[in-house]
Assembly symmetry: C2
Homo-oligomer: 299 residues x 2
Amino acid sequence: MAVDTFTTYLTEKTAYIEDRLISALEQEGVPSALYESMKYSLMAGGKRLRPMLVLAVLEALDKPIERGVPFAVALEMIHTYSLIHDDLPAMDDDDLRRGKPTNHKVFGEATAILAGDALLTRAFSLIAESYMGRTDVPAATTVKLIAELGRRAGARGMVGGQMADIEGEMKRLELPQLEFIHEHKTGDLLIAALRGGGYLAEASEKQMEMLTRYGYCIGLAFQIQDDILNVEGDAAELGKAVGSDAQRQKATYPSILGLEQSKERLAALIAEAKAALADAGLEHSALGPLADYVRDRKK
Amino acid sequence: MAVDTFTTYLTEKTAYIEDRLISALEQEGVPSALYESMKYSLMAGGKRLRPMLVLAVLEALDKPIERGVPFAVALEMIHTYSLIHDDLPAMDDDDLRRGKPTNHKVFGEATAILAGDALLTRAFSLIAESYMGRTDVPAATTVKLIAELGRRAGARGMVGGQMADIEGEMKRLELPQLEFIHEHKTGDLLIAALRGGGYLAEASEKQMEMLTRYGYCIGLAFQIQDDILNVEGDAAELGKAVGSDAQRQKATYPSILGLEQSKERLAALIAEAKAALADAGLEHSALGPLADYVRDRKK
């Protein structure tokens, strides 16, 4: 896929996903402040990488992308809730996210906590409700999607990664601890996206294994690029301050490995991700350019 | 069921449930502070009413109670997470719960938020994982359980009720608004317990309807008794202060209806709950004494 074509692809898919995000939020019977708070963060932009990966797996395996929509939307809801909670004063205490005031700055802390809880809960009910009774997605597949998502998003996955991140703050972390944090805080939800897409697209066991590998690599790569952008990125483009990691004395790839070696590790991970794709026979899909995009992104 | 027999029943079932709660928490791969925080609140006692209702429905319909265990445990996890988050400084700011320091008092706010998030997530993955591949619980039933639980626990259910409660604080609420809060904040999760039990026990449509009615009534009754205990209960037995509602000028049944009329409403709801049971042909099960227990409890 040429770079232009891929840029168009990203734009189209983002619009497609955002359309579906908004309609998946329940409004009737929901207190309006709660609904507004959920909507504010869900529709606050972002790369929509997780939903994009679900749809890309379906495409790669010649299945209709529509089949992936409820799962894709659920993933974005979980990602969004995690950002709302991470930004809270008791956690990272961030005032800005993607250039906009964070949820609790707009709606207050109590509503932000509840909006996060409600998005997390909605993710699971959305999957269960949307696939119920569908002939193209057997109930056993729906159960697998929920088990996968729950496991990757929970105490052994994303939440565990966030906990390790908080515990590690201001400590002198070594690389293995830093990789543990990133594997779980970021990687696990990307892996859930890929494996969930795989279940929906009836991927082979070998393909599931390679999709998992690809997810692990781009998850870690994503985080390394995040750390690099925090050193040499553009604050305006990023929508957040740069240099904050160094200021907080936070352990990062550049702080442990240096900038050059971090870039080498990033390149190696993307190469490994692409090798996994090739092993799965999926190297000609959008998953290839998506891996490059994780490396080359400026925000 | 005689009162003694029912007391023995409660004690036995509580022990049965608590055994299963602890083993449902994942420990491997979970940061230890996160695990300890989740365990602390999950094992901090409580009436275990929601799990009890699931098991009672299975018994009432002559099905093995073991079939209800994962769903019952998931409900208690969701109830527990909601207490952890409700107690946070940004919410009700409570220092004590069941006579013990609240989660954030012991583990700090960040860990308490994450422990709540992880318990909520675990509830869904537990249901999906535990029923996967079982012949007595078809995958389609598992999907229904998750849809029911997600709906009742989310923005239109428990979280919505908590939001309305926060918005209503210090306002002069009328009875319909107070009932909205209680229906959702407390009632919805009890209804989920009963309906989930119904799905697992293959209840008839009529029985599902009556179980829902029963749940609505005991949910409201539960809350009225809570309000009454806050006026005339025993602080030592309750494990929390009495008179706090009046002090906070919180709208309650006694503050709106007076104590006597509140007690009448409570009695009428329990009578209605029992009538629903009789309509479903389930009046000889433990669900009858459980309704009385909601009315007569001292803590």
